[in-house]
């Protein structure tokens, strides 16, 4: 008996000793990941570049397309067969807002992983990489605060502060400008980040590692922000900053453009392009049209960019059918004349045939017509907003991935912007030089990005009133604003900020009031001034958020930001 007990116990002891805790560390080490001593900072730089301008399809759709591009008047839903009517997002939508907020607010984590690597004392310490990080941080915070208003800034990126306070836009603007100055100071006259593994080239999708171009972009961003801040309460610092910026190199020449090339061979869910959405539902549901304001400014000024921005309308025979009953009966005539009014405005030639319950038109196919779709049309007029009668975005904008077709790059910061900003500063009396030259250079640079031919550019600059700063100061500022806004096509966040900051184009900034045709939304017809904060922020940082609202005003889309002209 004792013998068996011994054998029994010995066996158990053996089993246990064979499987002691000695391999616990090993089996609990993740096999499919890297530790910080195995990686290089440049891989993270590529990540923070694409994440800010080409995030995955979910935020690209919900933040960029549904909010920014539409609020900017560039794109519009709400034609017959579209998945949404164009009131979308003018009524606050928690789901879409959260998608936008979560993407933009969480970007800071990717940024801080990079910055922590390359900062002084970091695992991959490199001052030049750090300077690039500061400029990325500036690009990010300008976009982020201009979309939402006050956000955590001074206490951000510090994991020891679990509930960081919100900073005013004034503080953020000042902080970013200081960071940009610091970055420019670090870069000095250097052109490369370093040698060996520290040499940045292809992983920098903007400038292929050229530090002097980074420096110009920093300075251009500084000028953009100072001009935007100028005139706001407490923005007395702006004039001096503008002065500084004007005396240093800005992005002005064709080679200076910071454009993010699209990867056209990845899945439609990663690093999105418009085409991922456009081609998604297989039909009209996920498509959209170019806004009336854009098309009108281009067409009315003989702007050669028109066919590069938009497709001609499909046209053909189109029938408006009067509903047999219901609320749509009384307004049928108003709707039809509104839509036909848009055709008339665009100079479209068509024949019209009326019967008891139908209006049938036949669009002439003699020439291509461009018609923009009015922004914020409501659900009642939706059946009459015919797909065939409004211009779609150009194929270059909405080509699908994996089809071999090229896709227009993401606009980060352009040489056009550097020129326009100088023109604006000069017109405002904050700088010296020939405003019109800068203005025309800006237009030319903006057109080149879209592959407009030099002769067409020259022709436009020579013949169009729009190309001349020949009016009053306010008229000239309006033209500059319109051109900056037009140049920001597909860069909805900046285009929307321009409308809010300058009040131009007036057609957008004035909002809507005829609710037979337009959607009032939770904005009650007003132009959207910001987006509401995401629920994640309420859920995790509620007290600081409430404190921010005490300063900024209620968390509504209609609350104006610090730099808004009326604020």
């Amino acid at each position: 008996m004792k013998g068996i007990l011994k054998i029994f116990s010995a066996t158990l002891l053996l089993i246990f000793s064979l499987s002691s805790c000695s391999d616990f560390e090993e089996i609990n080490t993740k096999p499919d990941a890297f530790t910080s001593d195995e990686v290089s900072a440049k891989y993270f730089l590529t990540g923070i570049q694409i994440e800010l301008y080409a995030p995955n399809r979910y935020p690209y759709w919900r933040a960029q397309l549904i909010h920014a591009d539409r609020f900017a008047g560039m794109f519009t839903f709400g034609f017959n067969g579209c998945w949404w009517n164009d009131g979308l997002a003018y009524s606050y939508s928690g789901g879409y807002t959260d998608a936008a907020y979560d993407w933009m607010a969480s970007y800071v984590s990717k940024l801080s992983v990079y910055q922590n690597f390359v900062k002084e004392g970091g695992d991959l310490e490199n001052e030049n990489f750090y300077a690039i990080g500061l400029i990325m941080k500036g690009l990010y915070y300008q976009m982020y605060t201009d979309t939402f208003g006050m956000v955590p800034y001074t206490e951000a990126s510090n994991p020891d502060i679990i509930t960081p306070k919100f900073d005013t836009q004034e503080e953020i603007y000042k902080g970013v400008i200081a960071d940009l100055d610091r970055a420019m100071e670090i870069i000095g006259s250097q052109t490369e980040t370093g040698t060996g593994v520290e040499l940045l080239t292809g992983n920098d999708l903007f400038f292929n590692g050229d530090l002097q171009k980074w420096k110009k972009m920093a300075n251009t961003l500084k000028l953009r922000m100072a001009l935007r801040a100028q005139g706001a309460t407490g923005a007395g610092f702006a004039d001096a900053v503008i002065n500084e910026a004007l005396s240093s190199p800005l992005l002005t020449d064709e080679g200076d453009n910071a454009l993010l090339p699209k990867d056209i061979e990845i899945s439609q869910w990663a690093n999105a392009a418009y085409g991922d959405v456009w081609h998604n539902f297989g039909g009209r549901g996920s498509k959209w049209k170019v806004g009336k304001t854009v098309v009108d400014y281009l067409r009315d000024n003989n702007d050669p960019r028109l066919p590069h921005y938009a497709e001609p309308i499909i046209g053909g025979e189109v029938t408006f059918t009067k509903p047999s009953e219901g609320s749509g009966v009384a307004l049928f005539d108003k709707y039809v004349s509104f839509i036909l009014g848009e055709l008339d405005n665009a100079g479209v030639s068509y024949t019209r045939e009326d019967s008891a319950d139908q209006v049938k038109i036949n669009v002439s196919d003699e020439q291509p017509y461009y018609v923009g779709q009015p922004t914020r049309l409501n659900g009642d007029i939706y059946p009459h907003v015919k797909y065939e009668l409004f211009s779609a975005p150009a194929e270059w904008v909405v080509n699908p991935k994996n089809s071999g077709e090229p896709i227009f790059p993401e606009v980060v910061m352009t040489a056009a912007e550097g020129n326009f900003l100088q023109a604006e500063a000069i017109v405002k009396g904050l700088g010296s030089g020939d405003a019109q030259t800068y203005y025309q250079n800006g237009i030319a640079e903006a057109m080149k990005i879209w592959n407009v031919g030099q002769d067409e550019i020259d022709n436009f600059l020579a013949n169009e009133d729009m190309a001349l700063l020949n009016g009053t100061m306010e008229e000239n500022l309006e033209k500059i604003a319109i051109q900056r806004w037009l140049a920001s096509y597909t860069d909805g966040f900046e285009a929307w900020a321009i409308v809010r900051d300058t009040g131009y184009p007036k057609e957008l900034a004035n909002g809507v009031s005829d609710y037979d045709i337009y959607s009032a939304g939770t904005l009650n017809g007003e132009y959207p001034q910001r987006m509401r904060y995401g629920n994640q922020e309420y859920n995790t940082n509620g007290a600081n958020l409430e404190a921010a609202l005490q300063i900024q005003g209620p968390d509504e889309q209609g609350t104006e930001l610090w730099w808004a002209p009326n604020n």
Partner: protein, 1029 residues
């Protein structure tokens, strides 16, 4: 492996032929009750050492054929067992006496140790085989509902989906709130039991208990909370469901039984639809095809010719049954063959169960096969071997996804004039004018081609959502009895699960037009090796000690592989190599080990009081060296008060007071300690792109701690005529390991921390009895009620709540001061005077702030089981209910927005000027809006769709007829019965409209409190046949 099994089967079949039939004679007699002198029906009479047996009829008479030298064994629950040698007699009458000892219920407790229930200092509920097996469901969890106080089962819906089983409330935020499933002493892998919850497309998988064959279950013991489960360690913090499976009986000869259970299934109920207005918008039918949508805001269905979604003109008439007609009759057919044989020193049992269930949803079905072999052999008079091997394979075709994009989203919202048969013809070539379609692969639905509205038939017939599970469960256990007081066993158990999932959205899918697929395999394994020494010794005359000391090694592994592709090159076939863009992912083998040592010491004094002490130490590989070892103890005590107040047992057969305290630690998953950087799938322009983690990991994680205190009382009066149980408990969880959501500005989205405190306090009552017991009639009744209050005491400094799920204005939260599963949502926006607001156009406005609207956990649950026996007839039925608790019916909100619900008939035609204040002007509203506009806005306000979960239903029903012994004898059977069975027959009360409040969108914490296009709850009615040879 296969070969060995084959040989074993062969041996079994050979052994059937070895039955030697001696000279037989017929023995008859009458059995009477020693107390009342009345005849005793239902006494089992067995020829010892064989499976030959009969039962007494309602006059207490029996007749059995047995050899002249046989020994007959007479037994009946509650009475003493008697063995009588025949010695050639052909008549044998017998008086059976109630055995007070026999009233002592024996239950299975931790580590599979069988204990007298009266000695336990904590609550255990045991269900016998027939209680889970009569009204059968392939998911055993469904058969536990309403039968155990404190146990809440939340169903999802659709065949093959799992259930959420919580005992005494949600203990933690990590999601590990479900009871541990232990089969024959070995914990099984339960991956897949926390699933679903996605608002868009919620796939609710099964796993764990759903893979256990109900027919193999001998008993189910529910160990409630840490007190009962202390010895199972980390994973038992939320209680244990201990399943003991059947084995053969030694010395009983050959037995064969066949059980066949077939039921017809249909939706128990459907939402109430309107049948007055048809497809259209703003009070008119859709005017042209491009304009077609899915809503039913058209004009009155007057039979006029109108444009139909096919492009034809069709009479505009109501189709009141179109949703109902979509559902088919499902059939659940479960057939079991089991054979057992017991010899002098061995027993063998083999069973095979086949389950073929076709869903009420077209083209959705489940097939499973379960093979089980169990053998117990005495190797010597001291050593015995117990082994089991179970192989389970299940094929599930077309699992139904829930959520806003699930197939039922397109069924429930079907316009009221759409003919269901038309939707079956989705290939445009069937239509009169194929020119109107762009190509022949479109999934045309009731809004026309390319409208991103799914055609349910297309989705079910063309898309694929299949799963194949293969699971092997087995163990070998070697027992050794050193002396009459010391024994030991060593055991190795294995559980290997392979899951293959195919998820294909075919070319032409309404969202993914070019199609996509995802094929994945998962392999989970779990190996448990353990040993236990048991000493049972009388220390003095009155003091007895049972000591158990043991240890275990647990190793679990997880591995997944996935390939996915999109854009089928040629549209006609859906396979990987036909996709244009492909990607693959692999989660390398993850290993988690836990080593444990434990012991329990049970003292009993004079059968009067009992003291149990347990202790366990775990070493977990998931925690750092400093924290990986953790110890937890428990103590429980019970006192039989009846010895003092009623020593002669005149009234009380048992009156017990008990108390216990226990602590359990809990570890975490693999790789939760150290920061790393991952490689994302795609890269960019061929460049390597790295990402930092969004979770801040924590090398200092320590184990969670769950502490439980429980007191209780049990009684049994008048020889089992009245019995009951009362428990009060407090379970507190601290140091929860949780991914705490933090503001993004911290640089992370979550921090992994030990945080917070959750408290569950509750009361459980069970009372039962035998109100009537006469010669021919017996009525057993038992009821249970339980109430649990869940409270989140603390999260982390600066954080008041955390969000578990959200949808539009709704969020499901765990909030400090509130509970886990608090439901928050929007209400109608009001001004400072409390008056409702509308916008400039007159539309109802939702407030920006969210208010607390309820909690997803029921306040009370209860069940009432009645069991009536009259002669050979038995009627058993279960009424159960939940009381209190809320649920958000997103289903109802979508029905209203689409204009198909009966509610949406209001304000049609003339429209409505909402009685409210215009937000823009501050003046009373004067703007009229249409019904469509009203319901469109109204349906976006969460508070309008919060329903009380309170419901009471007839959950189970079984009417069984047992054929008399002489009849079964005459046709060569041992026993036979036939029964009519039903489940979910009707509601006695239900508050919620449209939905079943017991059913939610997932089985994880995030799936609680939301119903969103769930499949209808199934009513089933069927037949159960049992035959024993």
């Amino acid at each position: 492996m296969g070969k060995k099994l084959f040989i074993l089967f062969g041996l079994m079949f050979l052994s059937f032929n070895q039955n030697i039939i001696a000279q037989e004679q017929t023995v008859t007699g009458t059995v009477t009750d020693g107390e009342s002198g009345l005849p005793l029906p239902g006494v089992t009479v067995i020829e010892k050492g064989t499976s030959n047996g009969v039962a007494t009829d309602f006059d207490g008479n029996y007749s059995i054929t047995a050899p002249a030298d046989a020994v007959l064994v007479f037994s009946m629950l509650g009475y003493g067992t008697q063995e009588i040698a025949l010695e050639g007699r052909t008549t044998l009458d017998l008086v059976l006496s109630v055995d007070a000892q026999a009233l002592d219920e024996v239950v299975v407790t931790s580590l599979g140790i069988t204990r007298e229930k009266k000695s336990l200092g904590y609550a255990v509920t045991e269900l016998e085989s027939e209680e889970v097996n009569t009204v059968k469901n392939y998911n055993v969890a469904s058969s536990l509902v309403g039968k155990v106080a404190g146990l809440v089962v939340n169903q999802s819906s659709g065949v093959g989906s799992g259930s959420r089983i919580t005992i005494r409330g949600n203990n933690t935020l990590t999601g590990n709130n479900q009871a541990l499933i232990v089969v024959d002493g070995i914990p099984i892998d339960a991956s897949g039991t926390e699933s679903g919850g996605s608002i868009y497309n919620s796939t609710v998988t099964g796993g764990g208990i759903t893979d256990i064959n109900p027919a193999d279950i001998e008993s189910v013991s529910v160990l409630k909370g840490p007190n009962a489960a202390a010895l199972y360690g980390s994973r038992a913090a939320s209680g244990v469901i201990l399943i003991t499976t059947k084995k053969g009986t030694k010395g009983r000869g050959l037995g064969i039984s066949i059980n066949s259970n077939i039921s017809i299934e249909e939706p128990m109920f459907l939402p109430e639809f309107q049948n007055e207005y048809g497809q259209g918008v703003n009070g008119a039918p859709y005017a042209d095809l491009a304009n077609f949508g899915g809503s039913s805001w058209g004009s009155r269905l007057d039979g006029s010719e109108q444009l139909y979604y096919t492009g034809e003109q069709r009479p505009y008439t109501a189709q009141p049954n179109n949703v109902e007609d979509f559902f088919e009759n499902g059939i659940q057919s479960i057939n079991t063959l089991s054979m057992d044989k017991g010899g002098e020193d061995y027993s063998l049992r083999f069973s095979y169960t086949n389950n073929a269930t076709t869903s009420i949803i077209p083209n959705s079905e489940l097939q499973s096969h379960n093979f089980n072999l169990r053998g117990v052999v005495d190797l010597s008079d001291k050593m015995s071997l117990d082994s089991k091997a179970t192989y389970f394979t299940q094929e599930l075709n077309n699992r139904v996804n829930l959520g806003t994009e699930g197939v039922l989203a397109y069924v429930y919202r079907m316009p009221r004039n759409v003919r269901i048969d038309d939707l079956k013809k989705y290939k445009p070539s069937l239509w009169a004018d194929p020119q109107m379609f762009e190509d022949e692969y479109g999934s045309i639905s009731y809004a026309g081609q390319n409208k991103s509205i799914g055609n349910p038939y297309w989705m079910l017939n063309e898309d694929t959502n299949d799963e194949r599970r293969d699971r092997f469960l087995g163990f070998t256990k070697l027992n050794y009895e050193f002396t009459d007081w010391l024994s030991a066993f060593a055991r190795v158990g294995g559980d290997v699960t392979n899951i293959r999932s195919d998820y294909i959205q075919d070319y032409g899918h309404h969202f993914f037009y070019d199609g996509r697929l995802s094929l994945s395999t998962r392999k989970n394994t779990e190996i448990n090796a353990d040993f236990l020494f048991t000493a049972d010794k009388d220390l003095t005359d009155k003091l007895n000690l049972v000591a158990n000391v043991g240890g275990s090694l647990s190793k679990r592994t997880f591995e997944t592989m996935n390939v996915s592709g999109s854009q089928f090159r040629l549209p006609s076939r859906s396979f990987l190599n036909n996709t244009n863009v492909q990607s693959s992912s692999h989660t390398p083998l993850g290993v988690k080990k836990i080593n444990s040592l434990y012991g329990s010491f049970s003292f009993s004094y004079d059968d009067l009081m009992y003291l149990d002490l347990t202790a366990r130490n775990d070493w977990s590989s998931t925690l750092s060296e400093d924290n990986r070892s953790y110890f937890y103890p428990s103590v429980s005590y019970s006192l039989l008060v009846d010895r003092f107040i009623d020593p002669d047992k005149d009234i009380f057969n048992l009156l017990k007071l008990r108390a216990s305290w226990a602590e359990v630690g809990n570890d975490t998953g693999v790789y939760q300690l150290y920061q790393t950087f991952s490689v994302p799938q795609d890269g960019y322009l061929g460049l390597t792109v790295l990402e930092g983690p969004s979770v801040k990991l924590n090398p200092n994680l320590k184990p969670e701690s769950v502490t439980s205190t429980e007191i209780g009382l049990e009684f049994n009066m008048f020889m089992n005529r009245l019995y009951g149980e009362l428990s009060l408990y407090d379970i507190t969880t601290t140091d929860m390991i949780y991914n705490v959501p933090v503001p993004f500005a911290t640089g992370y989205s979550t921090f992994k921390e030990n945080i917070g405190e959750v408290q569950n306090q509750g009361i459980e009552v069970m009372i039962g009895g035998v109100p009537v017991r006469t010669e021919n009639f017996r009525w057993d009744i038992s009821a249970n009620f339980s109430k649990n209050e869940n409270k989140l005491i603390e999260l982390i400094e600066g954080l008041d709540y955390t969000v578990l799920n959200s949808l539009g204005g709704l969020s499901i939260r765990a909030e400090v001061g509130g509970g886990i599963g608090d439901i928050y949502g929007s209400t109608w926006k009001t001004n400072e005077n409390g008056e409702r607001l509308v916008n400039a156009e007159g539309f109802p406005l939702a407030a920006g702030e969210r208010e607390k609207l309820g909690n997803a956990q029921p306040d009370w649950i209860g069940g009432l089981t009645n069991n009536l026996t009259y002669k050979n007839w038995n009627l058993r039925f279960l009424i159960d209910g939940r009381f209190g608790g809320e649920i958000y019916s997103a289903t109802s909100s979508y029905l209203d927005a689409a204009g198909v619900s009966e509610r949406s008939l209001q304000y049609r035609g003339e429209g409505i000027v909402v009685d409210a204040i215009n937000e823009e002007t501050g003046e009373p509203n004067t703007a009229s809006i249409t019904a469509q506009e009203y319901w469109g806005s109204y349906s976006g306000i969460t508070s309008n769709y919060i329903y009380d979960q309170t419901n009471v239903r007839l959950r189970e029903f079984a009417l069984t007829y047992r054929f008399p012994g002489d009849f079964t004898d005459s046709i060569g059977l041992n026993a036979a019965s036939i029964g009519l069975i039903g489940r979910n027959l009707f509601f006695l009360y239900k508050d919620a409209e449209d939905i079943d409040p017991d059913s939610s969108i997932g089985t994880g914490l995030s799936g609680q409190g939301i119903s969103l296009n769930n499949a209808p709850t199934i009513r089933s009615l069927g037949v159960n046949v049992n035959i024993k040879f």
